[in-house]
């Protein structure tokens, strides 16, 4: 594999991790807000 391809191959994983982190974080705070509004524990 070329250096460019290897660079993309190496650095794509932290980018995907960031995206998943955003999805999970957004969902958590949405659940948290909903739970607070309804006066319940999130868990």
């Amino acid at each position: 594999m070329s250096p460019l391809a290897m660079t993309l191959y190496t650095l794509m994983w932290p980018l995907i991790v960031l995206a998943v982190m955003g999805v999970i974080g957004y969902a958590f705070f949405a659940d948290w807000k909903k739970a607070r509004e309804s006066g319940q524990d999130i868990i």
Binding site: M1, W13, V17, M21, I24, F28, D31, I43
Partner: protein
Amino acid sequence: MNESSAVQFGAITVVLLLVAFYGGTYLVSHRIRKKKENADQYMTAGNKIGFGISAASMTATWIWASSMYASAEAGYTYGISGPIHYGLWGALMILFIYPFGKRIRAVAPRAHSIAEVMYARHGRSSQLMLAGSNVVGSLISLMSNFIAGGVLIAMLSPFTFIQGVLTVAAGVLLYTLWSGFRASVLTDFIQVMAMFGAVAVIIPFIFFAADFPSAFETGAQNLSPEQQSFFSSEAFLNQGAPYIAAVLAYAIGNQTIAQRLFAVREDLIKPTFITATIGYGAMVIGVGMFGVMALYLGFEPTDGDVNNIIPEMAASYLPAALLAIFFVMIIGALSSTADSDLSAMSSIMMADVYGQNVAGKAKANPQTMLLVGRVTMLLATAAAVSFASLQLSILDLLVFVGALWGALVFPVLASFYWKKVTNKAFTVSVLAALACFVPVRFEWFPLSGAVGIFVDLLSVVGIAVILGLMCFGFFGMKVAKVVAVIAAVVSAPFVIGFLHDYATLSASLVAYAVSTIVCWAMSVRGNAEFDFALIAQRTGNFDDDAAAGPADAASTANPEPTTVGDTR
């Protein structure tokens, strides 16, 4: 231990980091603490947790310290395809399990463990076989995570290995003991955010600090042609293939996964599993790239121990602040899995041992159940700390248990779909598979000549079973049968006369094959017609407060499994 990275942190720094981490997780768990906990919530959090927490928890539980070390080892040993052959297959197993997960929840919406469902479906022997294997697996996993913590603390601080093990064990117990599974999943969210954030920063930082991408050219001579190939057969046969066989069994046999399956809101199973698949894969493959980078750099881990690759790469290229983040990342990974193991073992002892077998479902006292759960956590922690000092080969033990679980996969899954499977078929097939697995795994006799060919033939069946099961969940029986036949025909020329040299892989495949053949043969001509609706009636809440649903009344009224038409 690595001299170059020894005493990277002073004692006070490490104590502060550990106090911040475990103190923070304790405070979070304290906020959801209830004076009188509910026994069912202690095990499965009321079967209704949301997407954010469940996806985070599934990801955090599946990622443990060893998975990061092993992925880096795969990258270092097998080159650029190594991390894929570790992380991708592990990730896809989460994905392959979700259709089965949906079916399991549909037939047992309020269960606490798959073993409990096996009791409702078959009876005591099936339940206890699964519960026993769950406990052994979780105990090994717990011990492994304590060892990883002890090694890390010993490597990066002046503290000893035993001090490190005790600190991690006490820290995990501190925040998990009172609220059980609820504390485990809530703290998983924080831990997975810390892990994700650390990986997102540390991988690019080390990449550029170690002079990549130019090192891909200057260090290319350090890689063999196989290590440079993205389609390395060596990587697939030695790393990928055994892992595919073991991880499918892990996903079925591991109570930590089942517990989250029963805890998440039923309509959120699919997005939870898909998100965990992507998160786990990206995280573990990304960390595995440390091994690939080390290979290009000609990096030699101390004493040739590949477990030193990640900590030594971090110690070599990260400044103190990022090294502290790295430290927290590994502590987070091992703690999230350790608390899951504690919760898994406690729920098995609460529901399967005390609830179903000691007191009986109708007479089980929720407060006694909670006591059983907490005492289990204390005893399991003490046992894991004791075993940790024995310096056992953890990966060998895990591969052994994973392969052992291969004997359970078909009988367990078939029991959720096929009305004809009986308790007798389940028990005999698992025992027969174990009886064949152990001699092959430990090579009690030479795997050569006719015996070797026979083992290879069973391995072909095992391959067909694994691929067939994977397709069955998504596409149904017709596609599964076609795929299984194609897999057998295509693999046979490569397997027969060859694969018996790989005892670990062969034994695992033999376990799948024998359990499937025996279970099928004993069931296909039977007249059992199990009514799956009975499972929902026979499983359910133990604590009769507001969390109890209509299914529970039925379960209390009909505690003993008496299968319609079951000839067990």
